[in-house]
Symmetry: none
């Protein structure tokens, strides 16, 4: 799920610059003219990270930072035109996670934001990879979602399991028996065309995608990318 970032800066140019860069980086962004507006929105629905200018009309960035910090552990980045050692140290000591001096590179901001999220992930120790990809399709085992070029494909449980198994063994052909054993947990010997049926439906749903499921005559199936001539 995409992370939500709130920005407060009273210079409209900077605000929109940051906004567009962060959106391009895949975040959901909302920007605000001043800290009080941000704070109100945050109370309404918390963000995953906050970018604050120090010099704003109304409550200044440091105070906003303080209020947020008292309330929760949301990561905060302060951006400011003021550049002195003392300013930077104050900003960080007051509770912000980083302090950038204007003019700063939007790309650096993005990198630092990514870094903060990475730090949080590392601390959480969540390194479990739950996705499998092939061609332009990605399966997410954690959410049971199937994405093709950003679009959502609706797969039934059996279809999902079968495709996931194929994705996990994309480099080789898979036999029907193997599918029945691993997807259906049947014991070998079951004489059923069930796998063919699911495959039939999968092919229909994946028609628009990059991925095709070739049949290996007399054996089973194997994944292949369509654009491979």
């Amino acid at each position: 799920m995409s992370k939500r970032i709130y920005i407060a800066d009273d210079e409209v140019n900077i605000r929109e610059l940051i906004h567009s860069f962060l959106e391009k980086a895949g975040y959901e962004v909302r920007s605000f003219q001043d800290g009080d507006a941000l704070l109100a929105a945050f109370y309404h629905a918390p963000a995953d990270l906050v970018v604050l200018d120090i010099m704003m009309s109304g409550t200044d960035g440091l105070q906003i930072c303080n209020k947020l910090r008292n309330r929760c552990s949301v990561p905060i980045i302060i951006v400011s035109a003021r550049d002195s050692e003392l300013d930077r140290i104050t900003g960080i000591t007051m509770g912000s996670d980083d302090y950038l001096v204007k003019p700063f590179s939007p790309l650096e901001l993005v990198a630092r934001i990514n870094g903060i999220f990475r730090r949080i992930d590392l601390d959480r120790g969540q390194v479990t990879q739950t996705t499998a990809s092939y061609g332009n399709i990605t399966l997410n085992a954690a959410t049971h979602e199937t994405i093709c070029d950003g679009r959502h494909i609706n797969l039934t449980p059996t279809e999902f399991l079968l495709l996931y198994y194929l994705f996990s063994n994309s480099e080789r052909a898979v036999s029907r028996e193997e599918l029945l054993k691993n997807v259906w947990q049947f014991e070998a010997g079951a004489d059923t065309r069930a796998a063919d049926d699911v495959l039939k439906r999968l092919r229909k749903k994946l028609a628009e995608s990059d991925v095709s499921i070739e049949s290996v005559w007399g054996y089973g199936f194997k994944l292949k990318r369509k654009d491979f001539a």
Copy 2:
């Protein structure tokens, strides 16, 4: 317990400067002439944070950073005489938590190190933190209060537990069995649709909110924000 910090820098003056400042700040410090020595010591006894110069004899700082990152989640700060946007972005993207340009203020380094440890503490606290948020809803485990847009929502104990569990696992789909096990503490296999019942009531109560509880066919449930197209 005092935290242990390792420093690698081949300029002896800088090394000792940093060393003394960090010790004054209450950390246990060991410094090394180059990255390889630091790495060897780290394998022997890991540190809580590492400060790396980029330009060192032997393996350079970025590579050391990489090796450490592959191995564990220790926080890393890179210090370097090279100052360009690209250098900073590369450093952070490669896995460091911060990038400081020489000459830097030792006090700022200390402040940033404190900041990183604070971030880790905040994240750790999060696990046992009393509040969980999703969309515009915040659950407070301590008071069993549920707030949506500042308004109060009245949840029964079971509803609260279930929603709290969903909030804590908002990034993935949760199966019925898992819910029964964790919310009801039933052992698996209980054939009950109690979860569906609570979900039914929850959905009704959350109808006005940002949050919707989607069902994952044949599996369980997953949180989703409504304003997401």
